[in-house]
Each structure stands twice: as C-alpha cells, then as structure tokens.
C-alpha cells in the first residue's frame, strides 16, 4: 500500500527525466567498473531523504536544484521569516510573502513547481532536533550564514558516527558565500577534514578596541559602533535594541552622525549604520547560484555515483571560489587536523599560545576572536579545578573572582584546560603554552 500513497514515486513516467536518464543509464569514462547504471540509481533518488539546512539565498537554490536532480523526499529547516531585503536573490519569495516563515514558503513553492517532490519544512532551530531526527537522512546540505550553526551541526554529525553502523555516517555538504566569493565543501564525518578542522580558514574580523570607540574615533564606523555599544547602553538601556526597527537605526544614525561631526569625521550614512549594526554581508543571486549548484552537483554524484565526487577520502574536498577578478576556483584536499576538538579520535588538546600575564578575563575575551576557537560564551576548567563557569548562577558567582587573576596564578605552563560553550555540544581541549619573553 505504501506505493499507492507515496504519490508519483518510482512508478511515474520517466519522460520528464529524459535528460537526467542519459546520465543515469550510461556509464562514463570516470564511473566505477562496478557501478550499475539505471534502476538502482533511480531508486536511490526517489528513496533518499535529504536534509537542507537554511532556506535563504543558498537554501532556495539548493531546494530547486535537488528537486530538479530527481530527489523526491527533501526536508528543510530554517527559523527565519522573510524580509524585503531577501527579495533580490531568494527567488522563491514574493513581496506578499514578507513576514512569513522561509522554510514553509520555500517548500510549498518548489512542491508546486516540480511535481512529485515532497518537501517537509521545519520552522525552527537546528538545535531543537536530536540525533534520532538527524539519523533518518542520507545526507545533509547546509546553506547557512552563521558559523555557529555550521559548527553545531558538524559536531552533531561527527558525534553520531558509530563505527559498527555504516548508516550513522552522514555526509555533510556545506556552502557559504560573501559578495562575489564563496566555498563549497564536502565532509565525510570522521573520515575527512571537518568544519572544525577548517575553522581557521574563516577568521573573524578583528573588533575595534573599546578605547578607540570611547576616546579616539577616526572612521565613520567607529562613531557608529560607539552609538551602538556605548551610547545606547547609556541612554536607552531599558529598550532592547532591535536592528530591524527603523526607529532604533535612525536613533543610532543620528547619534553617530553627531559624534562624527564633533570629531570632523566624514562619511556616516544611514546605510552604513545599518550595515555596521546588523553586520550585513553583501549577497547576490549569482554567487548563491554558483555555490548552491556546486553543492548539489556533489550531492547528486555522491548518491548516484554517476561520477567521482569531492570528499572521497584522499581526494579533493574543498572548492574555493572568487569572482571579483575574472573567475578563479581552487579545489584541493583540506587535511584533517590531528588535534581537532571535534573529529580527532584521541581528542588531543590543541596547543594555544597565551600571555602568562594576561588575566583569565582577557584570555576568555580573546577566545571569541582567535580564528581557531571563536567561542563567545566559554566556561573553563583546568585538570584540577573549575576556573570560570557562565552558569549556574551560584557557580558563576563563586568562580567570578578568578576572572581578574593572571593565568600564571591559575595554571602552570603547558597545562590542559577544557572549555565548553552553550553553542556547541562538545568540549574543547586546549593546552595553554606560555609565550616566552
């Protein structure tokens, strides 16, 4: 009876898939000798459950591409609602959809356009779901704009791997864009380099020191950050800043402009204020199209074996793309890091150079900016004792005095520490090595 209820399913006419079938039915010069063309591949396409994380610029493209690659059972997660500034690239949304959930609107649109595909939306956070949920998928594709969410899903899929059960290994295909640049990468958890191994390829921008904002601004951005971080706290701290509220942005803009005039700094604009406060990254349809298609091309090859794919252990797993000066891609094998806090078997502590004279507070603040850690709410313990805990409140209070102490008072040179952060389902081990001289 399952046949009858699964809609079009396997039994539909293949006339629609004429082009795809040329590839599915014919071996090529690079297909494996053991590869069986035809029916088994069609079967895989119709049965494999694919999870798409993100229904934004990349997600819209990914859903379209997967549906037109012949996949039938697609799930999509996104917690966001549609904003007017999405319409220049997120082509499944119309003006009338502004305010609705992205995952829901995107799923309905692709289902309507491509007959026979089932798309199941979930409007919420990836953290709402547990391992059992993620275990049902054959593969996960990410089109996200946040590093935290990527690291979370990466740690989750690595943690799910059970060597006794080959089905527990979920390939992760990840795309990211910024302006005319982007990357597509494939991760086979525990077998190839993971997102945490690659974290230093995506270093965060250095923050402007507070003293510059407070006393010696030089750039229009400094004045905006001052309004954002200092003036708002001083004058409107009872109101939660909402960067989508035009009144709030206008207030910040006027504050910043006035400060800029005091210091003779030219260049503060409304648009720049919005950009700085919301940390806006330029985004266009063409880059999203390129990166999403590259991801989906790999997904298709991985599941149908119609050609070699990125991520096969010992081969290339990462494609870097830049489009501002001609077109340039660099496809290479990113190697696993033996001390990766997520995927290394031994769970080795990663060495971290620190200044013995800096305080614990300074060290913890620095963790947010270090390319290899990027932790925003860390709690830390040494082999001997708890050094600082963000919660529960009484432990926080108990450990707070340590924040002012120097590292050399709390730890010995080369001592291991374990750091946890509510954003990640794991602990990070570091070996703190004191800087010489």
């Amino acid at each position: 009876m399952a046949e009858a209820t699964s809609g079009a399913g396997v039994s539909e006419s293949r006339a629609r898939w004429k082009y795809l079938d040329n590839i599915l039915h014919r071996p090529g010069p690079f297909t494996d000798e053991e590869w069986t063309p035809g029916e088994p591949q069609i079967e895989t396409l119709s049965r494999a459950k694919i999870l798409v994380i993100g229904a934004g610029g990349l997600g819209c493209e990914i859903l379209k591409n997967l549906a037109l690659s012949g996949f039938k059972d697609i799930h999509v997660i996104d917690m966001d609602t549609i904003d007017v500034s999405n319409l220049n690239r997120q082509f499944l949304f119309r003006h009338a959809d502004v305010g609705k959930y992205k995952a829901e609107v995107a799923a309905r649109f692709v289902e309507k356009r491509v007959k026979g595909v089932k798309i199941t939306p979930y409007c919420g956070k990836i953290q709402d779901k547990d391992e059992e949920y993620y275990m049902q998928f054959a593969l996960i594709v990410c089109g996200l704009d946040s590093i935290e969410a990527r690291r979370w899903i990466n740690a989750t899929v690595v943690g799910m791997v059970d060597m006794q059960n080959p089905d527990s290994m979920k390939p992760l295909v990840d795309g990211g864009t910024e302006g005319l640049k982007g990357q597509a990468r494939v991760i086979f958890p525990t077998m190839t380099s993971c997102i945490e191994c690659q974290l230093d390829m995506h270093a965060p921008r250095a923050a402007v020191p507070l003293c510059t904002l407070a006393t010696i601004p030089r750039q229009p951005q400094h004045c905006i950050e001052w309004a954002h971080i200092i003036a708002w706290e001083e004058e409107r701290k009872d109101i939660t800043l909402d960067s989508d509220d035009p009144e709030h942005i206008t207030w910040l803009y006027q504050k910043a402009l006035k400060r800029a005039q005091e210091f003779n700094i030219p260049g503060v604009t409304y648009s720049m204020t919005q950009g700085v406060v919301k940390n806006i990254i330029p985004a266009i349809a063409s880059t999203n199209a390129i990166i999403a298609a590259s991801c989906c091309n790999e997904v298709f090859k991985i599941l149908t074996n119609t050609n070699p794919f990125l991520g096969y252990p010992g081969t290339d797993n990462y494609m870097m793309y830049t489009g501002d000066e001609s077109i340039y891609t660099y496809t290479f094998e990113h190697m696993r890091k033996p001390d990766c806090p997520v995927c290394s078997e031994e769970n080795l502590a990663r060495p971290l150079q620190v200044d013995a004279n800096s305080t614990l507070q300074e060290f913890l603040d620095g963790l947010a900016e270090r390319p290899e850690s990027q932790l925003k709410k860390p709690s830390i313990r040494s082999e001997e004792k708890s050094l600082y805990y963000q919660f529960p409140p009484d432990l926080e209070q108990q450990t707070r005095p340590n924040l002012m102490k120097k590292l050399s008072e709390l730890l010995s040179d080369g001592e291991e520490v374990a750091i946890t952060d509510p954003a990640f389902p794991l602990q990070f081990k570091y070996k703190l090595v004191f800087k010489k001289g």
């Binding site: 006419s13 629609r16 898939w17 004429k18 082009y19 795809l20 040329n22 590839i23 014919r26 071996p27 090529g28 010069p29 690079f30 493209e61 379209k64 591409n65 037109l68 690659s69 007017v84 500034s85 319409l87 220049n88 690239r89 119309r94 356009r113 491509v114 007959k115 005319l180 597509a184 510059t212 010696i216 601004p217 030089r218 803009y253 006027q254 210091f263 003779n264 409304y270 648009s271 919005q274 806006i280 990254i281 330029p282 985004a283 266009i284 349809a285 063409s286 880059t287 999203n288 199209a289 390129i290 999403a292 298609a293 590259s294 091309n297 494609m319 489009g323 000066e325 001609s326 891609t329």
Partner: protein
C-alpha cells in the same frame, strides 16, 4: 539651540531596501547601468542555462530582457527547467519562461520572440535594441557568424554558452577596447599608495610636528603618533646615515624595521602605533611605481593619439600619462589606512592626503580640458569621471575583446597569435584546454548533423548512438588537437602527447554520454557564472573573464583561458 536639532533622516527608499545587499557591491551607478540594459537570450537545446542566467539578472533588476526561442514545451523540459509548469506543455517555451521569470521582479520588463532564429535574425535591425546578447549551443555556425559580426560592428558584448552533462563553457566577445576604471581591488591584498618615499612638503611638515621631541615626549603622546609620521621621521634619520638614500633592498629594509622596533618604549603590551609602523615597513617602503598593465595602457594607440571623438576614458588616460611623464608617479589616490592616532591628528593627516589628491586631480583635469580644446571635442568630460580615474589609476584594467571560435563544417580551427602559448599549456596537468577542444569538436558535429533529413533542429552527439558519435567527435577533436600543435609549432614529448590524447578522449566520451542533455546543477552553476560576468560588463566594475571559461563538474574545477 539650532545645532542640537538632529538632522532630518532620509530613510532608505523601497528600492534601496530591496536591493540593499547588492548596492553594497556595485553602488547606485552600477544599479543604474543594470536598469538601463536590455539583454537578449537566443535559446536552444534543453534551454536551461540561459534561463538560469536570466534568473540571476532579473532578481537584481536588469531593465529589460528578451527570450528568443521557437521550442515548444515538452515533458522533458519540466524535469530540468524550473521556469515551466505542467500547464505549459505544448505552449511556447519562450513565452512561459519569460512569464515565470517576470514574476521574480515586478521592476523588470520581459519580452519573448517565438519566431525561429533564422527568420528573426533576418529582419533588418533585429538586434538593434539589445545592449548584450547571450547565445546558447547548439546553434548553427551561420547564425553564430552573423551574431559575431554584429558584436564586432555594434560593439555589443556577446556570450556563447555550452552546458552539456557535467561540463560547461562560455566565451565572451567584448569590444576591442573594454576599459574598467572601478576594478574593486581587494583591500586585504593590495597595498595602498601612501608615498612614504616621495613625500610632499605638507606631509613632511606634519611628520616633523608630530615627532618633535620624540625622546622626551610623555607616554600618551608617544603612543599616539600616527605610524606614517613615525616612518617618515625614521626615514629622515636613516637617510642621514646612508648618504641620503632610503632603505633600498630587503636587507636594508629589515635593518630599518629593526631600528623602528627598537625605538618603541618597552611598556606592558607594547605600543600599537610602533607595531603598525613595523608591520608597514616591507609593504609601504616601495617606489609607487605603476604596474606594467598601467604603463602598458599609456602606450596603447588610443591613448597616444586622442581624437575629437575619442571615448572619455582615453582622453583621461592621455592626461594621466602626461602627469606620469612629468612627475614619475600616478595621481595620489588620497585615502589613508586607519591607524592608531588621536582623532584630530588622523583627520589632519587625512586632509593632507586629500588636499594632495585634489591638487593632482586638478592638474589632470587641466590637461583634459586642454585636450578637449585642441581636439575640438563637442561634449566636455565630466569632472567626476576624471576624479574616479585618478583615484583608481593604479588598478585600471583594459580588456582587449575579440571574436571567439565559430566552428565551420570542414574548416580548420584557427588559433592565430595564441596558438603557441595554448599549445605549450596543453601538457600542464591542470589544463582544461582539452575540454575546450572537446566542445569545439561537439560544435563541428552539430554543424554537420540534423535531427531529420529535412534540416530542422541541429542534432547533438549521443542523442541516439553513443558509441558511433563518440568515435566521430573524438576523430574531430584529435584533428583539432594536432592542428593546434602544428599551428603553434610546439611539438609535445611523446609521453605528454599521449597523456593529452587520453584526457581529450575521456572528455569527449563524457560529453557524448550526456547526449546533449543539460543537468540542472551544471546549468545553474554556469548560469551563475555567466550572470556575474554580465553584471561586471554592464556595470563596468570588477574584472571580467578574458575571454573563455571552462567548468569541469566531474572534478569541480574551473579554468579561464584566452583563445
């Protein structure tokens, strides 16, 4: 008090809100250029790559687009083209893809032509309305030749695109002189011209004032001297000890760097301005010599001989060349990197650079006006254009467009002046030139095969007979390969030749395997690349592909070659 009244806020317009994320890349002028353009797509085959390209142009708000396509919507279209629905079966593909694309952006005007290409192109001035033309394979060589001639005569950019199975290619035929002023150099990898080795009096005066009594200065003052002033101060000292010469080579620069580093006061955490000075030594202590590309620009015939109707670009280029001849440097761009400094000092420094940049610009402008008078130019060049040119002078780029290959049945493919360098590149392990050759062979097959005996649509290899067609295409491809090697007069080592031959054979096999099919992913990818290049060309910003791009979706690699 009047000064306390906050300035009136002009919030963003509805359009600025919708296009916010792209305006941050190409700005209002780029957007305007996009909105004033009219793109023609001449569609064929499965017809996906062109439509995917248009999708990425309609979304950011291209002015008009027109789709020429005489195909009727079939069941197979629904499995590969996102801009068609079941109810369109039996209708015109041009009409329905056009309508569904229009839904993406109400600001865009879409049109369609269902006439066959042969009839359409035969009408007088058929191509006249379009500012840029996209053509997808398969297409008859006669048609492609007409389009190529139009591109040459009307100076209209023309794209020729293949998307077949896991492979794709596109070539761009640009006008013979396509200059880009606003190239958006990457601020992280390009060094800013701050003229430390060619300071002018006002800058030197500033440096002296800020470093006076350096040794006895109080800690706070010492830690806030802008690093540009520090470097100029230490350069003066260095020159005194080195017969008036600045540090010239790597060894001397390292010694100079050491000298600056030693002068920092040893405080906890060091002095940030000294750290910045030390970090800038190797990058900034260079003669602001223009790149060979820019110097080459000054020697181009259009630059040397300015005429009454010369494009503004060449008149300004000539004026900048005169400036360079006289001063040995380009006009100062005028921007200063951020650095540790007191607000007042930084603004003062910024103003010194800006004032110098304005002075340089005024000199260039004066030459421009002089040229206008001597050549009896009718409309004056806008001051703003001169300003932008001066600001970007170091990064200006000139692309020399030329026609791409149009493969004619039974005729040898000619490689001209590029034969030698291309033949030499064949043996490079990452070369995708063999894939390009496979596409040329694909085109020759198309030129000689029809879907039915009465003509009709061109037939693509592998539609019915994979093995026979593979052999045919491989035969053509090997001939193109050996012809290229002969024309380039660079015989390969036997081993290299057989590697290239094997690679070419594999590409042909994989290409024919598709039987002319488009895979949606590959067409979406290629549509992304092509639309990006279209935007660069229309906005005259960033640097476009010169002139051919190839994508291998089996290995996920691209390559750009000049053919």
């Amino acid at each position: 008090m009047a000064t306390d009244i906050p300035p009136p806020v002009q919030g963003p317009t509805a359009k600025e809100r919708k296009y916010d994320r792209q305006l941050r890349l190409w700005g209002a002028t780029g957007q305007m250029a996009l909105e004033n353009s009219h793109i023609l797509l001449i569609n064929s085959g499965p017809g996906v790559v062109g439509v995917e390209t248009l999708k990425n142009l309609v979304l950011p708000g291209v002015g008009h687009f027109t789709i020429q396509d005489s195909a009727i919507v079939s069941e197979a279209d629904l499995g590969v083209n996102f801009f068609l629905e079941e109810e369109h079966l039996g209708g015109y593909r041009a009409e329905h893809t056009c309508n569904l694309l229009k839904e993406l952006n109400p600001d865009v005007e879409g049109h369609f032509v269902t006439e066959p290409i042969e009839a359409f192109i035969d009408e007088p001035d058929a191509l006249q309305p379009y500012t840029l033309i996209l053509v997808t394979a398969p297409i008859r060589p006669e048609i492609l030749t007409i389009l190529s001639e139009h591109a040459s005569n009307a100076l209209v950019p023309l794209f020729y695109i293949h998307s077949v199975g896991f492979y794709s290619h596109f070539s761009i035929h640009l006008p013979p002189a396509f200059p880009i002023v606003d190239t958006h150099p990457d601020p992280e990898t390009t060094t800013r011209d701050i003229r430390l080795l060619k300071p002018w009096p006002e800058l030197l005066q500033f440096a002296r004032a800020k470093t006076e009594g350096l040794d006895t200065m109080d800690a706070d003052d010492h830690g806030h001297i802008p690093y540009i002033a520090l470097l100029l101060y230490f350069l003066e000292k260095w020159k005194e000890e080195h017969e008036g010469q600045p540090p010239l080579n790597y060894k001397e620069k390292t010694a100079f760097r050491e000298m600056v580093a030693k002068a920092a006061r040893s405080l906890e955490g060091g002095e940030e301005n000294f750290d910045e000075a030390v970090a800038a030594v190797l990058k900034s202590l260079n003669d602001p010599e223009p790149s060979s590309a820019v110097k080459g620009l000054f020697k181009e015939p259009e630059c040397l001989l300015v005429k009454q109707d010369s494009p503004a670009f060449w008149v300004i280029a000539h004026a900048v060349a005169l400036f360079y001849q006289k001063h040995g440097v380009l006009p100062l761009p005028g921007s200063v990197p951020d650095m540790k400094a007191r607000s007042k000092d930084y603004i003062e420094l910024q103003n010194i650079y800006k004032a110098k940049a304005r002075k340089d610009m005024a000199e260039v402008l004066e030459s421009v006006r002089f040229l206008e008078r001597t050549t009896m130019r009718e409309t004056p060049i806008e001051e703003r254009d001169v300003e932008t040119f001066c600001k970007n002078a170091a990064h200006i780029k000139l692309v020399r467009g030329r026609p791409f290959h149009v493969v004619q049945a039974g005729e040898k493919v000619q490689w001209g002046d590029r034969a030698k360098s291309l033949a030499q590149s064949l043996a490079f392990p990452d070369s995708l030139l063999p894939l390009y050759i496979a596409f040329l062979a694909f085109d020759e097959f198309v030129a000689t095969h029809n879907k039915n005996a009465l003509g009709g649509a061109p037939k693509m290899p592998g539609e019915d007979h994979v093995e026979v067609d593979t052999e045919k295409v491989a035969g053509i491809a090997f001939k193109i390969l050996t012809d290229l090697i002969a024309e380039g007069n660079t015989p390969l080592e036997e081993e290299d030749f057989s590697t290239v031959e094997t690679k070419l054979g594999e590409y042909v096999k994989e290409l024919v395997r598709a039987g002319g099919a488009e895979l949606h992913n590959i067409s979406a990818f290629t549509g992304g690349l092509v639309s990006q290049e279209v935007i660069k060309i229309i906005t005259e910003q960033y640097i476009p592909v010169d002139n051919t791009c190839i994508f291998d979706g089996v290995r996920s690699k691209t390559a750009v070659i000049q053919v």
